[in-house]
Symmetry: C2
Subunit: 347 residues, 2 copies
């Protein structure tokens, strides 16, 4: 696959983002939804912050306190043998697991799609009991004249997917939890298909230890049912360990094209592509057996959680996939891939 990577990559880094909370540092500005509004490209960026610390022996963790409506800080001693710091993304304590950063969403705007102006303040930040550990990985589907945002709401109650909407990215309205825990990587098809809305989602079966794609239908985007298994991991390839939807699927002449992420046994995150039938989106027409994008560059391989390219949105324009993707759970990069080349690669 011929991938054009923007020479200015990463196009957005943590240092480009003003911390929301005083005394905090931004450690990630990475997984991002993308859409067009007027003559601008809009990114809806997951920004991860944590309290800045000058004491290397203490880990400070921010958690939203839903009753006090403010961020509270917890301290963990790195010398405490009862605590497990081995995963940079979470701290495991006898009291439970805590995420090492708290994520919110920030809007960025650009006319050229490369140089973005990033808001100083969040457009969405933790506000409910389901969001006390943050908001993650937003996807934007433009349906009619409304932008629908699916996002991961995390709290000790579980990893859920919630829905929000906006007409203009000025005010954003929340519509509650549409997929109960644990369920993430939810993307909404951008139009009704034969009278129904569809979503790809990624529930978890801990009993059988699978993290795979399902599809559900809805009449109103808020209530979901008729769940069907959609696509599982393939042995011996880039998505052998787990997979989930990434970009919002988009219409092509041959079917709905979905750019998804696959994880292998070494926890390497790549992007693949899958084509679904245009009228029966639960039917797979073609699928990558190799990644369309894999971590190769320094900024993709090294970072907070390395060896990761992760996509939450793209634009398909002028025969190209214009992919905004999180790299190493740290920054945002931009790449272009020929749509035709992706289509030709599907088996």
């Amino acid at each position: 696959m011929n991938v054009y990577r923007c020479p200015e990559n990463p196009i957005i880094e943590p240092k480009d983002v003003t911390p929301w909370q005083a005394g905090y540092e931004v450690i990630g500005a990475f997984n991002t939804g993308v859409t067009r509004l007027g003559d601008e490209i809009i990114l809806l960026i997951r920004v991860a912050e944590r309290p800045a610390s000058s004491n290397p022996d203490i880990e400070y963790t921010a958690v939203y306190d839903v009753e006090k409506k403010q961020i509270a800080v917890k301290e963990f001693s790195k010398k405490d043998s009862l605590l497990d710091f081995s995963d940079p993304r979470m701290t495991i304590t006898p009291e439970g697991k805590f995420l090492t950063s708290l994520s919110h969403f920030r809007i960025a705007r650009s006319k050229d799609g490369i140089h973005f102006e990033i808001d100083d303040k969040p457009c969405m930040s933790p506000a409910t009991a389901y969001e006390t550990f943050g908001l993650e990985d937003p996807r934007i589907s433009l349906i009619g004249d409304t932008y629908y945002i699916t996002y991961v709401a995390v709290s000790p109650l579980g990893v859920t997917t919630a829905l929000a909407s906006t007409k203009d990215f000025g005010s954003i309205e929340r519509h509650g939890i549409i997929f109960c825990p644990d369920n993430k990587d939810v993307v909404l098809f951008p139009e009704k298909i034969e009278g129904k809305y569809y979503a790809i989602h990624r529930p978890v079966t801990p009993l059988f230890e699978k993290y795979e794609m399902w599809i559900a239908e809805s009449n109103d985007l808020k209530h979901w049912g008729n769940h069907h298994y959609l696509m599982g991991s393939a042995e011996g390839t880039f998505d052998c360990h787990r997979l989930g939807a990434s970009a919002v699927p988009f219409r092509t002449d041959e079917g709905w094209l979905e750019v998804y992420h696959g994880v292998d046994d070494d926890n390497r995150y790549c992007l693949g592509a899958v084509l679904f039938d245009i009228k029966e989106p639960w039917k797979i027409i073609g699928r990558s057996d190799k990644p369309i994008l894999a971590p190769e560059t320094d900024y993709e391989i090294e970072g907070f959680f390395g060896n990761v390219v992760f996509n939450c949105g793209l634009l398909c324009e002028e025969g190209k996939l214009r992919i905004y993707y999180g790299v190493a759970d740290t920054s945002i990069a931009y790449a272009e891939i020929s749509l035709q080349e992706v289509m030709d690669s599907l088996k």
Copy 2:
């Protein structure tokens, strides 16, 4: 709590049930939905069967083959050191987990509520890709003139909850998966509340290792949304490890009464009670701090999976809870408890 246990308990045992498949043995006739139809009490019984084996070194496991539309048998050598037989309910193999029995549903009818005539054939048996490991734990909600059955559909794709309906327990219509994996212990409130249907469900968050009750709403019983966390385990008591809805909730003067099951750290299953607000069923008014029914008798303590009382349905009649409950994942017992005494016990 004063519990009247029927002297004829267990009222239904595996030996009372004719095997569905030739050459099979019934090893469980236990968790059962219950309702009234005309002048009869109807049980919808989970019947667990496995191939009868005369060879103690081989375990035979039945799995529904959805393509061939028939039951297939797998053989596992008990001497194979790669296989794990430590849990009587499942065999863990390098190929995946397999259940040691295959469950279907059987109807039983009674006029006196104690002596039942059990159908020779299943009324529902595995028929879809989501049911290849069987159907489990049915609940019956009479809504209008239709009996709605929520049941657990198990396959390697996960532990899901499906919906079916019937007017007469003659023909039963399937309506597909309403809660994606892993999600079980789903009960439907028996009427609309302020214009919405409600279900209690029990999703799983493997990340935070919780198995607790949530509530969702629906306009049509098939599509579910607006998920809210409902009730979690309480420390130091009978439901400290996990819990889930059991009986279909029923209306009382003070609120919706739900008999649920709680599991403690020793894997002992008890029944508790919780009262929800009549108009806002996501609000808890009162809750047991002790079980209303706990495993005490031989038939509750000993069996296929002992120390278990598990309920999928009851009748509230003449001021009594008439509880049909699975014992030790083996048989069905019958008990009566005063409604007033249960109400008085709620904190």
